[in-house]
């Protein structure tokens, strides 16, 4: 059987093709003619660019003014005593002491809930992506549920945990705070890591299976590949966990001392900001900004460390 092909136009003579002026401008980017059209294009371009610059300026301006406000107010009240000592007798009327209780409380709660959150969400993500077949109904329902949980406001988590604690006759405690914050960040963990894992190349899975790996043994490979995703998820979760006031208000409570056991109440930085800012005394209000400054610096440091760790782990990513 012989195949015939339609005649192809000769190649290599495109420059000889006669173009109308309109077409020529489209092909060669000739902006000089026709003039009217070109003017309109330029105006549109300039307009679009101006709008983008304006949006950028608004965002950058907001960030700068937030930092400036916190810094200018907080710096006045900031001192070594502030971050290294517990509130004294007259702390809340502007006398001696610091908010080390809130710093340590926040660190305990965030540290505990991040570890707990990772321990729970990594297996969930692994199960959703590796154990369940693609297109599984269970995975679909689970993902939808996590999306819903993602959107639940933290005060609702707080109220939910509060109800349960009352039911069991428990009082506000560090453990209560850790658990409610864990609940709050698990959807963030799972959603973010899930996105990273769904992009995991099927070929790599097939390759490990072909070497005789069980699904469990592929975990090591999957974890290495999604390490940057885990880092991002952790950063987002920590950011949300450390800044949340509503969920810990009813569960961790507030105290002027550093908790020494899980059953004692714990103070947190957002609540320190809240209580001091609602004071009528200006010195105390400035202390609220100092607490906010510490909060911001902690988040910043965590972001930088998180990035560095993530870079170290992702060098093997394919």
């Amino acid at each position: 059987m012989k195949k015939t092909f339609p005649k192809q136009p000769r190649r290599g003579n495109t420059h000889e093709v006669q173009l109308t002026p309109h077409k020529r401008s489209a092909v060669w980017g000739d902006h000089s003619k026709p003039k009217a059209r070109c003017g309109a294009k330029r105006i549109k371009e300039a307009l679009a660019q101006t709008l983008m610059w304006l949006s950028m300026a608004v965002v950058v301006g907001m960030v700068v003014s937030v930092i400036w406000t916190i810094f200018s107010h907080g710096w006045k009240a900031m001192s070594w005593e502030m971050v290294s000592s517990l509130p004294g007798g007259g702390f809340y009327i502007g006398k001696e002491g610091g908010f080390l209780n809130a710093i340590m409380g926040s660190v305990y709660i965030v540290g505990g809930s991040t570890v707990l959150g990772l321990l729970i969400s990594v297996p969930v993500v692994f199960y959703l992506n590796i154990y369940l077949k693609p297109g599984s109904k269970l995975a679909y329902v689970a993902r939808m549920a996590f999306d819903v949980l993602f959107g639940v406001p933290s005060i609702v988590y707080g109220a939910f945990a509060f109800t349960i604690m009352i039911f069991f006759g428990l009082r506000t405690s560090l453990l209560g705070g850790i658990i409610v914050i864990t609940l709050l960040i698990i959807p963030i963990f799972i959603r973010t890591m899930d996105e990273a894992t769904r992009e995991f190349p099927r070929d790599i899975l097939d390759a490990t299976y072909s070497l005789g790996a069980t699904r469990w043994e592929t975990l090591k490979v999957v974890l290495r590949q999604i390490a940057p995703g885990i880092a991002t998820a952790t950063l987002l979760s920590v950011g949300r966990a450390i800044g949340d006031a509503a969920a810990v208000m009813f569960t961790a409570g507030y105290t002027d001392s550093i908790p020494t056991s899980l059953s004692q109440p714990a103070a947190t930085l957002p609540l320190a900001v809240f209580f001091q800012l609602s004071s009528p005394i200006p010195e105390v209000q400035d202390r609220a900004y100092a607490a906010a400054l510490v909060l911001t610096v902690i988040v910043l440091l965590l972001s930088i460390t998180g990035r560095l760790i993530s870079n170290k782990f992702s060098k093997n990513k394919v």
């Binding site: 190349p201 790599i204 899975l205 390759a207 490990t208 490979v221 290495r224 394919v318």
Partner: protein
């Protein structure tokens, strides 16, 4: 020897493999050829049961590897896959160092460790001609190798777990011509120790290296036999047409 007997595979409503019967001889290169979508890759993935990870797949028939039916019997799937290595179309190094890529399979299968593991990694990297290129940077990420080197690394990784069979799914099609030639030559060298079953889209490649040929069309095996016979005296009209390039 792998014998496939009246194998049928349905994926959802599609009948992908229709009553496939083939015998894949030992210590030879078997090339599975045929137009796109004819079920070559499905057949290949059935041989090490990777097909089971596909959604909605139904299998019937027998696949006998050295006389044992791998589909029905309670054969240990990980042990089966260790014995039947796979080299995929696109090289896919694991997200670890060059050394660990080759060592991974040995570690999970508890084949060896310590000095013995080092020796085995070196030996397998040598056998794919990669040792001299990477011996200075064994702990660099495998992803930094060139694509041709990556494919040879994948081959070394498959060989390190001491398989009896090697499946290759268009293993040279993503490579540049020079790397493709290197990998192809490797297969020819390796057939002394392994039974190689490769899917290929390139007829010329099949002509160069095949000892045994299976021609498939729309899920059926149209013709199978030794390369000499299939290429030079095809019995079936479809095979003749495919070989002369009437369709591809």
């Amino acid at each position: 020897m792998i014998e496939v007997k009246s194998l049928n595979i349905h994926i959802k409503d599609a009948h992908i493999l229709k009553n496939v019967n083939v015998v894949l001889p030992e210590r030879q290169i078997t090339c599975i050829i045929g137009p796109s979508g004819c079920g070559k890759t499905t057949l290949l993935r059935t041989l090490n049961r990777l097909i089971e990870s596909t959604e909605g797949v139904k299998t019937s028939g027998q696949v006998l590897v050295d006389g044992q039916d791998i589909i029905r019997s309670g054969a240990e799937i990980t042990e089966l896959r260790r014995r039947i290595g796979l080299v995929s179309q696109r090289p896919c190094p694991l997200p670890m160092s060059i050394f660990n890529n080759v060592a991974y399979g040995c570690r999970i299968n508890n084949l060896c460790k310590g000095k013995e593991l080092h020796r085995r990694v070196e030996e397998n990297l040598r056998s794919v001609g990669l040792w001299d290129e990477v011996k200075e940077r064994l702990h660099a990420p495998a992803a930094r190798l060139s694509i041709g080197q990556q494919q040879r690394l994948c081959l070394a990784r498959s060989l390190a777990v001491e398989p009896d069979y090697l499946l290759a799914d268009e293993a040279t099609s993503a490579l540049d011509p020079i790397s493709a030639k290197t990998v192809e030559d490797l297969f020819v060298k390796l057939k002394e120790q392994y039974s190689i079953i490769m899917v290929t889209h390139t007829l010329r490649q099949a002509l160069r290296i095949a000892d045994h040929v299976v021609f498939m069309y729309l899920g059926e095996v149209i013709e199978e036999g030794c390369a000499e016979q299939v290429f030079h005296h095809p019995q079936h009209e479809l095979t003749q047409k495919y070989l002369t390039g009437a369709f591809s």
